[in-house]
């Protein structure tokens, strides 16, 4: 594509895009009563009402959900992935937190 043509075209595209990007929302779906909401994906929407509506159309076209939550992606605070080991290994060496640690009662019923 020639340079002049290209730049003219880019102008038009930016104009149409309106210099504005809708915020990103994380979508959580409860698939049936009695189950937790589970992360389904994300989408862009101008506000919370539209985000819920878009989430319904995008993630529940086949009755995959009975309830939808949307959360602004920017409002989610996550643990630091680099700190994986140090942050999550505190359970290591604490086998006594699990029932399987207690073997002496083997054979005793209802225990």
């Amino acid at each position: 594509m020639a340079k002049a043509e290209n730049s003219k075209f880019e102008n038009r595209a930016t104009e149409a895009a309106g210099h504005e990007t809708w915020p990103l929302w994380e979508v959580f779906i409860r698939s049936a009563r009695g189950l937790s909401h589970v992360h389904a994906g994300s989408l862009h929407a101008p506000d919370a009402t539209m985000a819920v509506r878009n989430a319904r159309d995008l993630y529940t076209r086949r009755m995959e959900g009975v309830s939808v939550w949307v959360v602004p992606s920017a409002e989610v605070t996550a643990s630091d992935p680099d700190a994986k080991g140090a942050y999550f290994e505190s359970a290591q060496g604490k086998e006594y937190r699990h029932a399987s640690y207690y073997t002496k009662s083997e054979g005793v019923k209802h225990l």
């Binding site: 594509m1 290209n6 075209f9 880019e10 038009r12 595209a13 930016t14 149409a16 895009a17 309106g18 504005e20 990007t21 809708w22 915020p23 990103l24 994380e26 994906g41 994300s42 989408l43 862009h44 101008p46 506000d47 539209m50 159309d57 995008l58 076209r61 086949r62 992606s73 920017a74 409002e75 989610v76 605070t77 996550a78 643990s79 630091d80 992935p81 680099d82 700190a83 942050y87």
Partner: protein, 335 residues
């Protein structure tokens, strides 16, 4: 753990290129791949891995979006209310597939607006199959059966791709695709049970879509440049030729049920290989269409651009409304 992380629009999900990585980070990446586990967006990953995924996933998303056009053209002309409803549901699914994939691509740090601009400015690729015309109702059958059929063969192994968000999007997509393939098959079956003119229309559509659908798996293995690295990264699981063979082996018995033939004189069962042999494909045509010189490239891109521009006022109005109501909420709280 750091006290607080930057709350960018992608704070939960996306981290952009994190450079060379430490020895530890590289080792973790290698071990996740070696154990056939999943890489998640905030993990360190080689920049070439990220680039490969952004390219492949966004091309895939663009294909779903452009892929709506040949079928959307037929919604108003579908022969019955039932077929209209089915076609609308299918086209809506394809829009959904595009959006699942864009949202998965965004977790790699490339925004939707950037991806959309690449598409409408003609800088991005999408599957060359959608640059062929769909002139008859039977094309709706051939597209569902052959094009969605080939897409399924391609996509099922991607449900195990090493990048978590991509694999999860593919699981969702694959669940929806089998309806697409079946409704196409059924259209052809009904036409093949109809008048002679209807049978000829079905055969003609299959004649036109057969070779292009086989080319959807990409160039022959010997010429496929990115394949080896993608296989090593567990993004790709089978080679182009393996998948193409699988597709042909699947199609032949289905064509027998339809009573339809394929326009390939070399198509024959090979006892020794345990597979169907088929003729050489026209890779020059493939290259031409991919380079933008196919029958409908310009039309498809223009339609996409027009839709984007025609929708601008809706996006702007929704954003203005959101700003206004957010402003009111703040005023209300202050009062």
């Amino acid at each position: 753990m750091t006290v607080s992380e930057p709350r960018t629009p992608h704070a939960v999900s996306a981290v952009t290129d994190a450079g060379e990585g430490t020895d530890e980070e590289r080792a973790l990446f290698e071990s996740v791949i070696a154990d056939d586990k999943r890489i998640e967006p905030r993990d360190w990953m080689p920049s070439a891995y990220r680039r490969t995924l952004v390219r492949q996933m966004s091309q895939h998303a663009h294909s779903e979006i452009i892929g709506m056009q040949p079928e959307a053209n037929w919604i108003t002309r579908a022969p019955s209310l039932k077929r209209k409803a089915i076609l609308m549901a299918k086209v809506q699914d394809e829009a959904g597939h595009g959006l699942y994939l864009y949202s998965a691509t965004e977790t790699l740090g490339t925004g939707r607006d950037v991806l959309n601009d690449q598409l409408i400015q003609g800088k991005a690729r999408y599957s060359s199959i959608f640059n062929y015309p769909a002139p008859t109702w039977a094309d709706m059958g051939a597209i569902g059966w052959l094009v969605d059929g080939a897409a399924i063969v391609n996509q099922v192994p991607l449900c195990r791709a090493s990048f978590g968000p991509y694999a999860r999007a593919m699981v969702r997509i694959c669940k929806e695709e089998s309806f697409h393939q079946r409704q196409g098959f059924e259209i052809l079956l009904e036409l093949m049970q109809g008048t002679q003119a209807q049978q000829e229309m079905a055969q003609d559509a299959v004649n036109r879509w057969f070779a292009p659908s086989l080319m959807m798996f990409g160039p022959p293995d010997a010429e496929s440049t990115n394949s080896a690295q993608s296989m090593a990264w567990n993004i790709k699981r089978f080679s182009n030729d393996e998948l193409r063979q699988r597709f042909v082996d699947m199609l032949v018995p289905q064509a027998e049920v339809l009573g339809i033939t394929f326009p390939d004189p070399e198509l024959a069962w090979n006892e020794e290989r345990g597979h169907y042999d088929f003729g050489e494909l026209d890779w020059d045509e493939f290259a031409e269409v991919l380079a933008g010189r196919g029958p409908c490239n310009a039309q498809r891109l223009q339609r996409r651009r027009d839709a984007h521009n025609d929708g601008a006022w809706v996006r702007e109005a929704a954003a203005a409304y959101a700003r206004k109501t957010a402003g009111r909420a703040v005023e209300g709280a202050a009062a």
